[in-house]
């Protein structure tokens, strides 16, 4: 059992009571909601004649269904309009803060909350979305919940949950040039497998993690769930505090020092124990690309797609399905795979630093002919800051479309979709069958820098050959 880790401390602090049957009742410090998983929860409250217990602890935005080309209301898609409308009404009725389109603070919920200073160390954060793990980058315990639990949080500000085990993932050394947080996390998931994290919280630590910026740390924690872990976190440090300072909802004035002092005390102790520890050498990670239909099926850019023999017996069935669906042969290289669509965005890699890196590669370059490339900033704030730096112009000049913020083709609930069996190079987090809107569409996950390189070359390429010296 783990002891004195940040996870243990935060869990104990938020534990209301042990419930009969073995789970704990956990207080949720910050509840984030969006249009897809909340309407049925509000409906259930109505059925049970319940109120939102602490409306001041819930914050809403809209992201999954928003169109990224024309956001004028009513939306062209009636169902999308109905969903945003329902959220608007629910927020007004229950007095919940809603950052709507045009507020300057709308965007993907996991991009928005940190930007606003809502996400802070030591909190428990829940949202009806599995990538809530993102917020763990700040040393909060953050996890996705289903709609019934959204209802529970609205009604009681608590949920029933079994305590997780804690696995430390220690990353030695540093990432080499042209290798990013996305590559590291894809590599970790590949090595451990997509179900290794079930029942665990992942603590990411070590020199390679300390060195990452807050945005990169969010990329790592974001994908904890792809490794099966419901939450992932990183102990807060000076970088964390600098990021949070002076944001809209961060502690102000005299409260700031009190907050920092408390945050410092939350870190996993020197003598903390973990359920297990796994070590990685970050310096050995290459730019990494998925070739299959789970985020665990990835290889380094210069490696070959593994044959069944090279794959663990437990993973052979899904590997067989992946070859067939993706149209790849074992032993084939991933490099030079022709690409039809390039997508830069999502809660994994749709932040300012992601757009900066991609733009630095695209500067004075052109997207390959017949390739569709588009960039969807993670939030209105990201879009504004990127424009302030002129990044939009670099993208547009290179041949990318510059879109309005939202989830977009990460899950294709709006009109941004793959067609037929198109292949996308995508900075998002899931390459599941059909994920990007076409039942036979194929997704290759990679870092935003690698997507930019693929856009220029029209095929999967090693971004290190594109980095300007």
């Amino acid at each position: 059992m783990s002891h004195n880790t940040l996870f243990d401390k935060v869990w104990d602090l938020h534990k209301v009571v042990s419930l009969p049957g073995g789970s704990d009742q956990i207080f949720i410090g910050l509840h984030l909601i969006h249009e897809v998983t909340s309407p049925q929860a509000f409906e259930a409250l109505k059925d049970k004649n319940l109120k939102v217990k602490f409306p001041s602890r819930t914050v809403a935005t809209v992201d999954h269904i928003v169109p990224t080309d024309n956001q004028s209301r009513p939306f062209k898609d009636d169902l999308a309009e109905q969903m945003i409308n329902t959220l608007e009404k629910n927020c007004i009725k229950h007095k919940i803060k809603f950052y709507n389109i045009g507020s300057g603070n709308q965007g993907i919920v996991h991009v928005v909350a940190p930007e606003l200073g809502l996400t802070q160390p030591g909190m428990t954060i829940a949202c009806g979305d599995s990538h809530t793990s993102t917020h763990g980058a700040f040393g909060s315990i953050a996890f996705g919940i289903g709609t019934s639990q959204v209802r529970d949080v609205l009604a009681s500000q608590t949920i029933a949950m079994n305590k997780l085990k804690v696995r430390q993932i220690w990353c030695e050394n540093t990432l080499s040039n042209g290798v990013y947080a996305k590559d590291l996390v894809l590599h970790i998931i590949n090595q451990l497998g997509v179900k290794a994290g079930v029942g665990y919280a992942y603590e990411f630590a070590g020199p390679a993690i300390s060195e990452l910026s807050m945005e990169e740390r969010m990329t790592i924690c974001n994908m904890s769930i792809e490794g099966g872990a419901r939450c992932g976190y990183i102990n807060p440090d000076e970088k964390t505090f600098i990021y949070i300072k002076d944001r809209l909802h961060s502690p102000q004035n005299i409260n700031w020092n009190k907050a920092v002092e408390w945050w410092e005390s939350l870190k996993s102790d020197e003598n903390s124990t973990f359920d297990d520890v796994i070590k990685f050498d970050a310096s050995r990670v290459e730019p990494t690309v998925t070739w299959g239909i789970t985020p665990g099926q990835s290889i380094g850019i210069n490696q070959k797609i593994p044959s069944l023999k090279e794959i663990h017996p437990n993973d052979q069935f899904i590997a067989g399905e992946a070859y067939e669906y993706m149209g790849f042969e074992p032993g084939q290289t991933i490099k030079d795979t022709p690409i039809d669509v390039c997508f830069i965005g999502s809660c994994t890699n749709g932040r300012l630093s992601d757009l900066r890196v991609a733009a630095s590669i695209l500067e004075n370059q052109k997207v390959a002919p017949n390739l569709k490339a588009f960039v969807v900033p993670g939030s209105e704030k990201v879009a504004k800051e990127a424009k302030g730096e002129g990044l939009d112009k670099i993208f547009i000049k290179a041949g990318f479309q510059w879109r309005e913020p939202g989830c977009s083709m990460c899950l294709a609930m709006n009109s941004d979709k793959l067609i037929g069996n198109q292949v996308s190079a995508s900075s998002s987090n899931r390459n599941f069958k059909g994920r990007q809107g076409s039942p036979s569409g194929r997704t290759l996950l990679m870092s935003p820098a690698m997507v930019a390189a693929a856009a220029i070359a029209g095929k999967v390429s090693d971004v290190r050959e594109f980095i300007k010296k």
């Binding site: 209301v16 009571v17 419930l19 009969p20 049957g21 073995g22 009742q25 207080f27 410090g29 998983t37 309407p39 049925q40 409906e43 049970k48 602490f54 001041s56 999954h64 898609d77 109905q82 969903m83 803060k97 809502l118 802070q120 030591g122 979305d129 599995s130 996705g144 919940i145 289903g146 709609t147 019934s148 639990q149 529970d152 009604a155 009681s156 949920i159 029933a160 949950m161 997509v194 179900k195 079930v198 099966g228 419901r230 909802h249 502690p251 907050a259 408390w262 789970t294 993973d315 899904i318 399905e321 294709a412 609930m413 899931r430 599941f432 069958k433 059909g434 994920r435 809107g437 039942p439």
Partner: protein, 207 residues
Amino acid sequence: MKDNFQPPLGKISKIAGKSISLIGDDIDTDRIIPARFLKCVNFDYLAKSVFADDRKNLKGMHPFDLKSNEESSILIVNSNFGCGSSREHAPQALMRWGIKAIIGESFAEIFYSNCIAIGIPCYTLSKELIKKIQHHKSEHNLFLEIDIAKSEVKSDLLTVNLGIKESAKNMFLSGKWDATSTLLENTNLIDKKMNDLPYLKFNNKYF
């Protein structure tokens, strides 16, 4: 949707029904219910869209389209079933199609708790025994009877113990698997937490 759909209510001590096998590891929530069907403000019409893309690709040969599986209610799956998103639409779609319990090698965590929250017990069983059930050949689908208190499944083929979280089992037996009321019993303690948590003191209200 089955016209007579009724969500489960109250104590559940036994679930009996025909099995339906779905073979494959890591079957994710995007496959169970593709994202385009999430555009809804209630769960009522999800049944017909369950596995929509897989079913389309298999042109009538998907287990959820086979005539022999029409009345089945106990789903037999392999490992890491339900990985991916937190969308409760996935278990809701299965439930509305007619699934009352799931037996599998392993489940993704959020999917598992979503199932429990809406009244679908999920049981674990070894790879070998799952295989035995999935590859059982006979004229009729295997009829299974699950005894919740004993965590046991009975059938002509085999009678074995199943794995389930103690907390989940107790919820079904006591009828308290609707968590909201249980949680609200501790209102005083919740209020106390709200007053005590350090960060709620040094943060301003959001609204």
